[in-house]
Symmetry: none
Subunit: 413 residues, 2 copies
Amino acid sequence: MHAEIITIGEELLIGQIVNTNASWIAERLNEAGVAVKQVTVVADSESEILRALSEAFSRSDLVLTTGGLGPTRDDVTKLALCHFFKTGLVLNQEVLEDVSMLFSQRNLALTELNRQQALVPEAAKVLRNSNGTAPGLWLEKEGKICVAMPGVPYEMKAMVEGYILPELKKQRKDSFIVHRTILTQGIGESFLSEIIAEWENNLPPFIKLAYLPSPGMVRLRLSASGAREEDLMIALSEEEEKLRSLIPQYVWGFDRDTLEGVIGKLLVEKGLTVSTAESCTGGYLAHKITSVAGSSAYFMGSIVAYANELKSRFLWINKKLIEKHGAVSREVVEAMALNGCQTMSSDFCMATSGIAGPGGGTAEKPVGTVWIAVAFRDKVSSRLLHLGDQRDRNIARATLATLAMLREKILEI
Amino acid sequence: MHAEIITIGEELLIGQIVNTNASWIAERLNEAGVAVKQVTVVADSESEILRALSEAFSRSDLVLTTGGLGPTRDDVTKLALCHFFKTGLVLNQEVLEDVSMLFSQRNLALTELNRQQALVPEAAKVLRNSNGTAPGLWLEKEGKICVAMPGVPYEMKAMVEGYILPELKKQRKDSFIVHRTILTQGIGESFLSEIIAEWENNLPPFIKLAYLPSPGMVRLRLSASGAREEDLMIALSEEEEKLRSLIPQYVWGFDRDTLEGVIGKLLVEKGLTVSTAESCTGGYLAHKITSVAGSSAYFMGSIVAYANELKSRFLWINKKLIEKHGAVSREVVEAMALNGCQTMSSDFCMATSGIAGPGGGTAEKPVGTVWIAVAFRDKVSSRLLHLGDQRDRNIARATLATLAMLREKILEI
């Protein structure tokens, strides 16, 4: 079964809001084994909606729309639906009661405009809306289904979860899709693809591989589709195992794991703590660690020592060491990490020192030169990164590389 | 001129990522006076891309695509373009040099797969990519334009801003649209609209006002359209001046200003420094400040004192004060800010202490209870925030409120 999503609304076409409805629906449908073939965004225009509907119906079995069901004159989705399904509007008593109830609860008088919310296409099955005035509308034609929903996210979500997904599950007997995403770090897309080429070429035809690169990491998504969910799960596990064995040192997590979340679990498991001693990452490392709920169990804190005098005061960095090697050096970053363990009473300390840019570079140490280090008590490892010239990306990539290094070091214990 | 956006990628159709590229491009195009007719999301499939391209070309004059230009076999946008524009792939020497350069800068060997990034449709004009390996491709057919860009946001953005928008501006001779966005903080949309109602009603017909609310702030965008750019600029300036005079205390910036950027300029102007003493914001305040290029001129550093023992060690918070009032209290947050000025040798210090959640709340201090403070040498101000139950939103909103408070305090000097 293929589905399409049509999101209706001017605010999406002028970029005022991001289309989170479409990604949310797509995710739910995929989890339910329904592949989404296309997402289309069109304006609140009867002809545009009609065109999008008829194109989507020509390709797919299920079309979900959001938006344009409000009471004002720029909401024309119902008219387009009547046109497309060759039906007319009739007053639905249940919806009228729902809308009246909602208004009386809020001590508001029911206006004529709001009464019109109870007018629905005669051919439609009504999905009642307990969170707002616009009902959902379920229409069928030649074995294909269209469900129109309001654009307000929580009203739409209640309809998808409460009605549409259960209904689809009943109807779908023989077609499943399951996914598994393997998260890698420390190797680029092209190198990765060379290492796993042979395995990739030998994937069974019902399993597809997608590369999803993002700054500093590559996610590998395996998708299996077929008639028996259990068989798909088994086949996916087998392929995942093979893949892992080819690149064990690069795999750090699965599906929706985050590096900071994985690190948190490992630290809790081992009863260890961490702190950060940051220069060029400017607090972003600490932010990543503390974005995990419960991180206060293993995160002591951070010294963001932007000024060299704070490196001396809180991290005991000898001024002569900075004079001799510069703040961006192996010597200084290793001392920051080692001393950070002591001044912050933590088992691990991550440290960074670099030139985030765009200014501050020299011939010897150009913008993007970043030293990172991870200390475990009295042992320390460090690495030199050569990043680019964009400040925000350099901060993000240095942070990611340092987190990845911490994860490795935790695993070595 | 109508435009369409085609974003290509399986990850959008399974809801793994939200389509921020489409909304960003839509916003830029609208600012440039180009209306977006449709956004389409399709998979990395040659036939799907071809279909989407030909449908978009039948409706619109400009088609921008993102995604599917990577080196791996699931990236097929270039093949679809060759098909659609009836052209073949040729090696582009400039692109090859760019890609080689990028790899040598990173001390990586150039693989055959990456060399293939230099294969481009013969009919295409190449938009060089200084941030990644995939070039942008500008193709024309029957007076209509298609530009294919990589899906990595910052690579795409550099092409839109550096090449596409200037090129579109050149092509439009007699129709201009200019914008000015006024950034306000500390007042809700409905109150704002009451204060400025009369001014709004008297705007000349060629100037439009849009309210763009986002968490913690309201942006007011003025758009003027007409045939003479200079006249529009003058009229906009006049209206902006009138608007400012109505709400001087709420306006903190313009267009793409950020609060941290505005603060940076003020601190440089006044020759003052700042530090942060963070608990619940966990380094995010320091990150915001250091995300501004040149912040090392006025940012000393941050103590992220997650563990109470670090609050005592680095911020001289008496343990008895914490025992008496709790770490989340006016007394503690004010002491953190005041002592932070001293221990970090800064003129200002921002401090936060709160319960970000989801755990850790009590009946007296539920999740979302956050104290913030700003000290200037030996004077301090503080405020209690009642936020929600989402950790990431609480951290972001507490940070924004603290930055806004710092800005006010700097202006008082």
